[in-house]
């Protein structure tokens, strides 16, 4: 996998980094996501699930399914890129 392109030099306008760009705020957003994730799974313990399939009623099933679907999707797509990638002017 290729490394991410390096961050461009600061914008020519020289303005301050905005709220979503400050590392402290990024950490806050990540922390918020984690808290929400924990809360969403914990919520499973406080009601009786009415999934149509038995496996849907396992605590945190959708959480795991969402996480691994995403990871699988991204990893497989990364492998596909090796075969499918062409230059932008390929058809020109």
């Amino acid at each position: 996998m290729e490394p991410h392109p390096p961050q461009n030099p600061p914008p020519p306008t020289g303005d301050e980094p905005g709220w979503p760009e400050r590392p402290k705020n990024v950490r806050r957003l990540i922390a918020l996501t984690i808290v929400l994730c924990v809360a969403a799974v914990a919520a499973d313990l406080f009601y009786s699930k009415h999934g149509h399939y038995g496996f849907e009623n396992i605590t945190g099933f959708h959480a795991l399914y969402g996480f691994f679907s995403y990871v699988g999707l991204v990893l497989i797509a990364g492998q596909l890129r090796k075969f499918l990638r062409r230059e932008e002017d390929y058809y020109d």
Binding site: H52, A63, Y65, G66
Partner: protein, 567 residues
């Protein structure tokens, strides 16, 4: 008189007057057309139809029922929002073709027979291609031609199928068709092309990103949803649609992960959303068909909204490539905000429109025990979050700040985005009016604890997976590249095959003509040699010898005559 026009005609005929109007009058007039059209549609009673006999065929140019009505309503809404969004465009070609295209799409959903459907079907193709060509680039010109060929082919299949179906059944009525005969199978294929079935899909991702910033907003609403309507009308409960639709939800998202052009990402995402609707048609129960209609309704709004935000970016910066964008939230805060609403809606977060429609289809799949399809749809729901929920807003408006500083979108664009965003949230919270429009009576409650919690788990953990993959550098980076899809077969392999076939025919022809010329030349040279003075027959013969030859010839003729005649 206007109230007697078939639905859609107000827009089609009204479009023809647009070139004669100027300035604000033209703008107001164009906004008024979809409003008038919608008012006319709402005034038509349920089960209204217009029948006529033409050359001995029973045609039904207008048929209003609950299924056609909901598609008619959302098409009018989409037309209004698209016109509002493109109000600053002064290009007459785009103004006329956009309105006529919307009108053709509306006309098609009220077609009660296959011939009327065919006429509107082709009209959507012919009118919409100008929205692509209006970009006036070489790439757009070529993509438009490919688009037109595919769209017309879809119409030809529909017509051929309709004729065969008429021969077999004696009816041209557009009701339930099923896959029972070759004719209806051809129609199915024609619908499948326009619905962007897997392997027949690539015209969509090829053409839509080449249209003008405003043209793509029009395009995103009508063509594909018309074919979803047509499938729901003709092929509800056709089992094969379940695997087809499931595949449609899954495979385009891999391409959406890789694609650099964010409007093409949205085109792949559109394809994925169509898959949910196709599965709903395939399941075919009342709940599933309600889900398909509701999802089409919600989807047209949030997909148009997302294309609007990317169109605004393209309008202001000249690009929608992820590698060139980032940090635009500073210059375009309202567009960013609307994009986030569109992203939340397509991802189906509770309180947004996608949630109240998609959960119907998922519930229908589970209730009818389509476990495989259910799991694929669940996977695709997590995948939607990647490309439309995260990638579009993140790489477009946040991500790496490339130093792009521009202005907020024009006021009319902001108004259109604002209306669409309000509808996305409105339908998510106050969904009863939408449910009241659905084809069948609704016995479904989207907001129960299980639905809400499981959907939040799915989405929040997919979001957590994004953060994780981004942090460990496993998220595929945005790169300046294209990724091959099925259009390779006709843009590269087919082209090469055609060119090499042409070259072979040419060289074969050259060989044939070359050797024929050689033979003729040799023969000519031989005749010239034997006849030249001093050659074998060039010498003057003595009279005695001549007489002998003449006698011999005569003798030979006589013998021949004796042999062949019946004496």
């Amino acid at each position: 008189m206007i109230e007697n026009l078939p639905p859609g005609m107000i827009l089609i005929l009204g479009a023809l007057l647009v070139p004669f109007l100027r300035g604000r009058v033209a703008g107001l007039y164009m906004l008024l057309l979809p409003v008038l059209g919608l008012a006319q549609l709402l005034a038509l009673p349920d089960q209204y139809s217009l029948n006529l006999e033409f050359l001995g065929y029973e045609l039904q140019p207008v048929r209003v029922d609950r299924l056609s009505r909901i598609f008619g309503i959302i098409f009018h809404l989409a037309a209004f929002l698209s016109v509002l969004y493109s109000l600053h465009v002064k290009d007459r070609i785009q103004q006329v073709s956009g309105l006529a295209y919307a009108g053709a799409g509306i006309g098609a959903v009220f077609a009660g027979d296959l011939i009327t459907l065919f006429i509107y079907w082709e009209l959507t193709a012919i009118t919409s291609v100008f929205l692509i060509w209006a970009s006036r680039t070489e790439k757009a010109h070529r993509a438009g031609l490919r688009y037109l060929v595919v769209q017309v082919l879809s119409g030809v299949l529909l017509l051929a199928g309709a004729i065969m179906h008429y021969e077999e059944s004696g009816s041209l009525a557009f009701g339930h068709l099923g896959l029972g005969s070759t004719g209806t199978q051809l129609i199915f294929l024609g619908f499948g092309i326009k619905a962007a079935f897997p392997l027949l899909h690539n015209w969509l991702q090829d053409a839509y990103p080449q249209a003008t910033p405003t043209g793509t907003v029009f395009l995103s609403a009508f063509t594909t949803k018309l074919s979803i309507y047509a499938l729901a009308r003709g092929y509800a409960g056709t089992d094969i649609l379940i695997p087809i639709g499931a595949a449609m939800t899954a495979f385009p998202i891999f391409f959406a992960v890789l694609e650099n052009d964010l409007r093409r990402v949205l085109a792949y995402s559109l394809n994925n959303q169509l898959g949910f609707m196709v599965v709903g048609v395939g399941i075919g129960t009342e709940l599933a068909l309600n889900g398909t209609a509701a999802h089409a309704f919600a989807h047209i709004l949030y997909k148009a909204l997302l294309f609007m935000t990317m169109g605004a970016v393209l309008h202001r910066t000249g690009t929608t490539k992820a590698t060139d964008l980032g940090g635009l939230y500073k210059s375009m805060p309202w567009t960013t905000f609307f994009c986030l609403i569109g992203a939340a809606s397509i991802s189906a977060f509770p309180l947004f429109s996608g949630f109240v429609s998609k959960s119907m289809i998922l519930t229908a799949a589970a209730e009818e025990h389509h476990l495989g399809a259910f799991l694929v749809l669940l996977f695709a729901s997590a995948g939607v979050l990647h490309h439309s929920g995260i990638k579009i807003p993140f790489y477009g408006f946040f991500g790496h700040d490339r130093g792009l500083r521009t202005r907020e979108a024009p006021l009319n664009m902001l108004l259109a985005m604002g209306c669409a965003a309000a509808l996305c949230v409105g339908l998510g919270v106050w969904y009863e009016p939408l449910y009241a429009l659905l084809p069948y009576a609704v016995d479904f409650e989207p907001y129960n604890v299980t639905h809400v919690v499981t959907q939040l788990q799915l989405l929040l953990f997919a979001l957590a997976a994004f953060i994780f993959m981004y942090k460990v550098h496993l998220e595929p980076p945005e790169i300046r590249a294209i990724h091959l899809d099925t259009d390779w077969f006709y843009r590269r392999a087919g082209k090469r095959l055609a060119l090499s076939l042409g070259a072979s025919v040419q060289s074969l022809w050259a060989a044939v003509t070359g050797s024929a010329l050689g033979v003729a030349g040799g023969l000519g040279a031989w005749v010239a040699r034997v006849h030249r003075p001093g050659g074998p027959v060039g010498e003057p013969l003595p009279s005695g010898k001549s007489a002998l030859w003449a006698a011999l010839l005569l003798f030979a003729f006589l013998v021949l005559a004796l042999l062949v005649s019946d004496i």
